[in-house]
C-alpha cells in the first residue's frame, strides 16, 4: 500500500512589475476579479479530507452516527470531512489507498492491520459513557437454543462479523481454538460473516443462526433500542478488553491538519455544542491514542496465530 498526499487546491497569483502600466492596470483588474471569484467560490480555499468508516453496525446507522462529528470538525477547523463507508471490514486496508482516504475510524483489528501495513498514525478514540475506551468480544446465543458451552455448539450454525474484526472473528476464533475447535467448517453446520456486529446480533435474535459474535458496545447499544435482546440472548463468552475504534490518519497527512483534527476532537467536550455531539455519539469525550494502545490487539492476534503482515482478511 502506498500512501497518498493530501490534495489541496491552490491558486497562486504571480505579478510582474516590469509590464507596461496599462497592462498592469488591466491585470490588476482581472486579478481583483479572479480574487473575488476565488473568495466567493466555496471549494476554493476549503480543505477536504475523506474519512473511512467500517460497517461496525448497520451501514446506514453507522453513517448517521458519524455525520455529526464530521460537521463539528468542519465547523471548528474549516476542514470539510467526507465520510465513506465500506461494506467489508477488511476492505478498508485496500480501500484506504485505492479511494485516497486521509484517515479512518479503525476497528481495533483493522487499526492494528493498518498500523502494521499502512503505517497509519492513531490520533484519538472515544471514551464511552461507561467510562471505558475499550470493548470486549461477545459470543452469544438465544436462551432457548440449549447451547451453554462450546460442545453444545457442534453442528450448529455460527455467524461471525468479519475476518478483520477483533470481537467478531479474532476473539471467537481464539476462544474456539482454546476449546479445541480447530476447523470451524467441520465443527459448525454453517458459518458465515454478517459484515456488521448488529447484523450478527439481529440474526441470532431472529433465529436465523444459532450462535453469534459481536462487540459488547454494539450489543449493549442494541439492547437500549430493543430490550428483547437482553431477555432472549445469552452470552456464552467474552474477551479481554481491546481498544475502541480510533481515528487514525495516513502518516503523510499535513501536520497542521493532524493537529487541527486531534485538537478539535480532544477539546470537543469543552464546548456545549461539542458535548451535544458527543452525547448523540454515546461518548463522554475523545482520548489521545497512540500505537501503544493497540498492544492487546497485537497480543491477541499473536495468540490467534495471525501474522498481521500477511493476514488474509477477506471473508471466505
Amino acid at each position: 500500500m502506498q500512501a497518498h498526499g493530501v490534495s489541496l487546491t491552490r491558486h497562486p497569483h504571480p505579478t510582474d512589475p516590469s509590464e507596461p502600466r496599462t497592462a498592469e492596470r488591466l491585470r490588476r483588474v482581472v486579478s481583483a476579479l479572479l480574487l473575488l471569484f476565488v473568495m466567493i467560490s466555496p471549494s476554493a480555499s476549503a480543505e477536504e479530507i475523506t474519512i473511512g468508516l467500517i460497517p461496525e453496525q448497520n451501514v446506514f446507522e453507522q453513517m448517521k452516527r458519524y455525520e455529526p462529528i464530521g460537521r463539528y470538525i468542519q465547523e471548528k477547523t474549516g476542514i470539510k470531512v467526507k465520510f465513506s463507508i465500506l461494506s467489508r471490514y477488511g476492505n478498508i486496508v485496500e480501500s484506504f489507498s485505492k479511494d485516497e482516504m486521509d484517515g479512518a475510524f479503525w476497528g481495533s483489528f483493522t487499526g492494528a492491520l493498518a498500523i502494521e501495513n499502512l503505517g497509519i498514525e492513531p490520533l484519538v478514540r472515544p471514551l464511552w459513557l461507561d467510562e471505558t475506551s475499550s470493548y470486549r468480544g461477545y459470543i452469544f446465543t438465544r436462551r432457548d437454543s440449549g447451547i451453554r458451552n462450546v460442545s453444545d455448539m457442534k453442528g450448529r450454525s455460527i455467524v461471525f462479523v468479519d475476518k478483520a474484526t477483533t470481537a467478531g472473528y479474532i476473539f471467537p476464533m481464539a476462544f474456539l481454538g482454546e476449546h479445541g475447535v480447530t476447523d470451524v467448517n467441520s465443527f459448525f453446520k454453517e458459518h458465515y460473516f454478517a459484515g456488521s456486529h448488529d447484523a450478527a446480533v439481529t440474526a441470532v435474535l431472529n433465529k436465523k443462526v444459532d450462535i453469534g459474535c459481536a462487540k459488547n458496545t454494539i450489543f449493549h447499544h442494541l439492547i437500549r433500542r430493543d430490550p428483547k435482546i437482553e431477555d432472549q440472548l445469552f452470552i456464552l463468552a467474552h474477551s479481554q478488553e481491546f481498544p475502541s475504534n480510533a481515528l487514525g490518519v495516513r502518516p503523510d497527512l499535513k501536520p497542521e491538519i493532524k493537529t487541527k483534527l486531534r485538537d478539535a476532537l480532544l477539546n470537543m467536550d469543552h464546548v456545549p455544542e461539542g458535548r451535544d455531539v458527543l452525547e448523540g455519539f454515546e461518548a463522554i469525550r475523545f482520548l489521545a491514542t497512540t500505537r501503544e494502545d493497540y498492544a492487546p490487539v497485537f497480543h491477541a492476534a499473536a495468540n490467534a496465530g495471525i501474522d498481521l503482515k500477511n493476514y488474509e482478511y477477506r471473508n471466505k
Binding site: 460497517p55 446506514f60 454453517e190 458465515y192 459484515g195 456488521s196 448488529d198 447484523a199 439481529t202
Partner: protein
Amino acid sequence: MRRKIVISVLALFILSSLGAAAASWYVSVATNQLQNLVNLHEIEGLRQNLVISLQEVQVDVHTTHTSMARNLDGIIASVRKLDQAAAECSNCHHRPEIEVKLNKVNDLLGDYKIALSHYITASANKQRIDAIEQEAEIIGHQILVHTEGMSMSASEKLDMMTGEAITKINRVRIILFITVLFTMTLCIVVTASLVKSLTRPVERLVGATEIIASGDLSYRIEDVVDPEFQKLAEHFNTMSTTLQESYAQLEDSNAELQSQINEREELQAQLLHGQKMEAIGTLASAISHEFGNSIQIIQSCADLLGMKGNLQGTEHPELGMISDAAHRAADLSRRLLTFGSKSETQLEPTDLNGLVQRVEAILRTTISRTIDIQSTFQDQLPAVNVDPSQIELSIVNLALNAKDAMPDGGLLRIETAQVDATDVLPVRSVPALPGAWIRLSVSDNGEGMDPATVARIFDPFFTTKGLGVGTGLGLAVVYDIVKNFGGRIHCQSTLGSGTTFQIFLPALPEGSLKIEKEQKSSKLEVRSNETLLLVDDEADMVEVMGVALREQGYIVHTANSGEKAVEVFEEHGREIQVVILDIGMPGMGGQVCLEKLLTLDPKVKVIMSSAYGSQGRQNALMQLGASGFLVKPYRLADMLKEINAVSAAG
C-alpha cells in the same frame, strides 16, 4: 327619524356583516377543503417519492453481489432519499389511523434498512445470501404494499373530499348569492322606507302651508308620531296661531279703521251737506229778505186797495187771490229762512206726544178727508230736547209729502215710541250713541219710491213733483232740523207699497218737561191820529205803508235809513208815539238806530221789523228796549194791531 336611520343603517351593517361572515366562513371552509385536496395531492407526491426511492433501493438489492452493484455510498444516498421521503410523509399531519399506517411503514423501513445492510455486508454461502436478500425484498415489498394501500385510501379520500369541496363551493355560491340578493332587497326596502319617512312629513308640511296660504289660518298639523317632525309641526302650529292672532288683530284694526273711515265719510258728507245747506241758506236768506219786502209791498198794496175801495173779498176775488199768493210767497220765504238757519232755534224739553197731537189737529183741518190719519203714542214717553216749532214743521212737511204720495187717498200713520240705541237704524254704518231714543214714524201706503229716489230724497231742491208744485226743500229742511237736534232720519220706501220716515231723537231723562205757562191774552185797541215814524230802506215799502197808515188816520213820518230816522226823530221826536223800524238796512242798521232813538228818548215806542223773525232775536231786541216786533211780510191789520198794542202799553 334619526333613530330610524341609525337602526336601519345598523341593521344593514349587521346583515352585511353576517352575510360577509357567513360567506367568509364558507369560503374558509371551501379553501380548507381545497387546501386539504392540495395536501392530499402533495401527500400522494410524497408517497410516489417514497415508492420511487424504495424502488431505487430495491434495484440495489437486486444488483448487490453482482457486477452491476453500485458502490455503498450510492446505496446509502438512495436509502437516505428513502428516509427523507418517509420523514416528509411522517412530518405531515395525519389522522390517527394514517399515523398508525405510517408508523408501520417507518418500522418496516427500519427493518428494511437492517435487512439491506445485512445483505450488503454479509459474506456467506449463496443460500444464506439469498435468504438475506429475500428477507430484504419481502420487507421492501411490504413497504410498497402498504404505501399502495395508503395511496388507494388517500385516492378514495381525495375523491370524497373533492366531491365535498365542490358541494361546499356550490353552497358558498348560493349563500353568497342569497346574501347579496337579500342585502340588496333590504337596502331597497330601507331606502324606500327612509325616503317615504322623509318626504311624507314634507308633503304634509307643504299641504299645511297651502291650506294656510289659501286663508284657513285655523288649520293645525295634528296626529304627528315622528318626534323630529312633531317639533317642526309644533313650530308650524305656533306660527299658524301667531299668524291667526295677527290676522285677527289686523281685521279688528281694519274694522276700526273702516269704522273711522265711515265716520269720517259721514262727517265729510255732513260737512259737505252743511256747507251746501249753508250756501243755499245764505242764498235763500238773501232771496227771502228781498222776497219778503216784495211780498210785504204786494200784501200791503192789496190791503191798501181793499181799505181804499172798501172792497169785500167776495165781490173782488182778485184781492183774495193776491193775498193767497202773498201768503204762499210769505210761507215760502219763511221756509227759506228756516232752511238757511237764519231763524233762531229755541231748544226746550218737549213732549213729543202732545206736539204730534197738535200737529194732527192742524193736519185734519188742512189735508183732504180722503186721507185717514191714525196716531199711535207710547205712554210715558220721555221728553226730547228740541225746538217744538221746527219739529212741528218737520211733521207737517213729512205729512204733506205723504199726502202728495197718496193723491187718491190712503192711510197716514204717525207713531211715537221709545227704543234702544240698538234699534236706531245706523247711518252709513255708524251706530247710534248708547242710551234711550225716541222714534217718530210717519208712514203712508202711497206710491212709494225707487231706491235711486230714496238715495237723493234729502238733497235740497230735489223733488219728484212737477215744476212749481214742489220746492225740493221740505225734506231737506226736515233732515237739517233733525240733524241739528242730534237725531237721525231714515227713509224706507217700496214702489207701490208706500214710504216710512223714521226720526230718531235722543230721549231726555224723566222729569225734564216744564209746566207750560198760560199765555196772557191782551186785547189791543187801534188808536188813530197818532204820529208814527216809519223807517225802511225800501222806498216802495215806506210809500205803500205810509199811505196805508195815513189812510188809517196816522200822521206818518218816513225815513229810508237809520241816520235819516234819527234826524227825523230829533226834529219831531215829541210828536212821534211809535217808531216802526226795519232792522236790515244799509248804513246804520235797525239795532243801532234803536239804541240812538232810545238815547234821544228812552220812552220811545219802537216796533222792530224784519224778515228774520226768530224768537231769540225778538227777545234780544226787546231787552234792548224795543216794544214790539213784526215779522215780514205782515198784513196791514197785523201792523195796526201791533201799533195799537204798543201804544196801549203806553
